[in-house]
């Protein structure tokens, strides 16, 4: 469904990704794990076309994403939950969902009820300004906003960042449910132990390069990962 081939990318005077190749098949849930500053966020921004690659190719459902403007990506079926959630703080929770449905307005009420079914707490607070929601509620709202575009591929950037440990558990439980519902998910996380329990497959990104990949159980058992990232 999504494939990156030998992609290089960076910002002015700084290369963030080197020769990255990655593939996500329809219905799969895949994680990109790695330490802070490894280039995980850049990788997602690349797929959303917020960053244009300097080399290599990206294609989604067999069509190249090169040269596609960032605001045209959602209509192709890719929804991106950005780092730090980035809700519109003074819009209500429901208005944030409306923004998520900007490119696919049909069946708004139906999709909204689907999101509220997934996050009942969001329904209670639907009229509240998003900036006043708790961290966990904001994350639900951000994921709900992305689902409102009926995406074929959901990109999640560090959904557990900045949340209390108890909330982190429930967010991962939700991500698991979303994966189980058949969404194709590409998730980027530092919380390696937790995310590997949710996804089927993962890539390990370090200093801008993919250094390892495989099934989650395999990676959890790999001695290098245990030693370097899980502290075992």
């Amino acid at each position: 469904m999504l494939s990156l081939e030998n992609v290089c990318a960076g910002y002015a005077g700084f290369q963030a990704l080197f020769d990255v190749s990655l593939e996500v098949k329809a219905g799969e849930s895949v994680a990109v794990i790695g330490p802070n500053g490894a280039g995980k966020t850049t990788l997602l921004r690349l797929i959303s076309k917020l960053v244009e690659p300097t080399q290599g190719g990206i294609s989604f459902q067999g069509r190249s994403l090169l040269g596609v403007a960032p605001h045209e990506v959602v209509a192709r079926g890719i929804a991106h939950v950005p780092e730090n959630r980035r809700l519109f703080p003074r819009l209500s929770a429901e208005e944030n969902l409306r923004m998520g449905a900007f490119v696919s307005r049909r069946d708004f009420a139906e999709k909204r009820e689907m999101v509220y079914g997934l996050f009942p707490r969001l329904k209670e607070k639907r009229r509240q300004a998003a900036g006043t929601l708790s961290g966990g509620e904001q994350q639900m709202c951000a994921i709900g906003r992305a689902l409102m575009s009926s995406p074929k591929l959901l990109l999640l950037d560090e959904p557990s960042a900045g949340l209390a440990p108890v909330v982190v558990q429930s967010i991962f439980a939700l991500v698991r449910r979303i994966c189980a519902q058949g969404y194709t998910v590409l998730i980027v996380e530092q919380n390696i132990r937790q995310v590997l329990k949710v996804v089927g497959r993962a890539y390990l990104l370090d200093a801008g390069r993919i250094v390892q990949s495989g099934a989650s159980a395999e990676l959890l058992a790999a001695p290098e990962i245990q030693k370097a990232y899980l502290g075992i």
Partner: protein, 288 residues
């Protein structure tokens, strides 16, 4: 004696209310632009002046029906707003605020000079006189009543648009997080263009109401441009609801102050109030 006093005071309060409606409409467009694009159109009142000339020429010279001339003027000023954004604001969108002020200030003088060259300096009048409306012992100008009603309807329409529609929600959202908009599938440049045309359209609507009450000349922008800007600052620049309420407060100071002292003193009192507020709440009465 006391009866007459009360009636005149009531008339002053009601006239203040009517003036407030017009000032509120004037503030809406400027606040919308600032709130969304974060740029102050110093030349806002000059766009209104262009709209007034458009109504005048279409109606008086080309004999278009008044209503049609007004609709055309609104469309024309909306187009001017769009052009202003594309050719003047866009190149300086990420420049220093002072540079943005200077370019729109430059447009102010450009439009004034162009109007002087094209239309001359003599005062032009639409020649339409709406009757006075009598209500018991009170008497009101129908033009002012109409302006008040249209201003309220315009504000309500804008409110509904911004709160109920996808496009309106996007216009509010973009001022809160411009960089995330592409992830919603929204092209920020397009929202800015639409907002600029909308701000221009509001200026055009104001022009249609003002042309019923005032003569047109190239410098007419100066007689209400500064007040409009002041009201926006009083309500908190970019805060449309704040500007709306501030317009009514300011108008009451002018009308009632002018009633108790002398007409010109009304403005003095209103400005003293403004300066006082700026000391106490520099970001406006309704600042967040």
């Amino acid at each position: 004696m006391s009866d007459i006093f009360d009636v005149f005071l009531l008339e002053a309060v009601l006239n203040g209310l009517l003036l407030g409606g017009l000032l509120a409409l004037l503030s809406l467009g400027l606040n919308l632009i600032f709130g969304v694009i974060d740029v102050v159109w110093i030349c806002y009142a000059e766009l209104i002046m262009c709209g007034m000339y458009a109504v005048y020429y279409l109606h008086v010279q080309f004999h278009w029906p008044l209503l049609l001339a007004m609709l055309a003027a609104i469309a024309l000023v909306a187009l001017l707003g769009w052009l202003l954004h594309q050719f003047v604001i866009r190149p300086v969108l990420s420049a220093e605020p002072i540079n943005q002020l200077l370019v729109t200030g430059g447009v102010l003088f450009f439009l004034q000079a162009a109007a002087t060259l094209a239309f001359g300096i003599d005062f032009k009048n639409l020649g339409v006189t709406l009757p006075a409306v009598r209500l018991g012992e009170l008497s009101f100008s129908a033009a002012r009543l109409l302006a008040f009603a249209v201003a309220l309807a315009g504000a309500l329409g804008l409110y509904l648009f911004l709160n109920r529609s996808y496009l309106g929600t996007a216009i509010r959202a973009i001022s809160q997080d411009r960089a995330v908009m592409p992830l919603m599938g929204v092209n920020p440049a397009r929202i800015f263009s639409i907002t600029s045309a909308l701000g221009g359209g509001l200026a055009g609507l104001a022009a249609c109401l003002l042309v019923l009450q005032y003569d047109i000349h190239p410098a007419i922008g100066l007689s209400f441009g500064p007040i409009t800007f002041l009201i926006c600052v009083l309500g908190g620049l970019g805060n449309m609801l704040g500007g709306f309420v501030a317009a009514f407060i300011f108008a009451q100071f002018i009308a009632v102050g002018g009633f108790f002292f002398h007409l010109e003193w009304g403005y003095v009192i209103a400005f003293v109030f403004f300066i006082g507020v700026m000391f106490l709440r520099p970001r406006g009465i309704f600042s967040r």
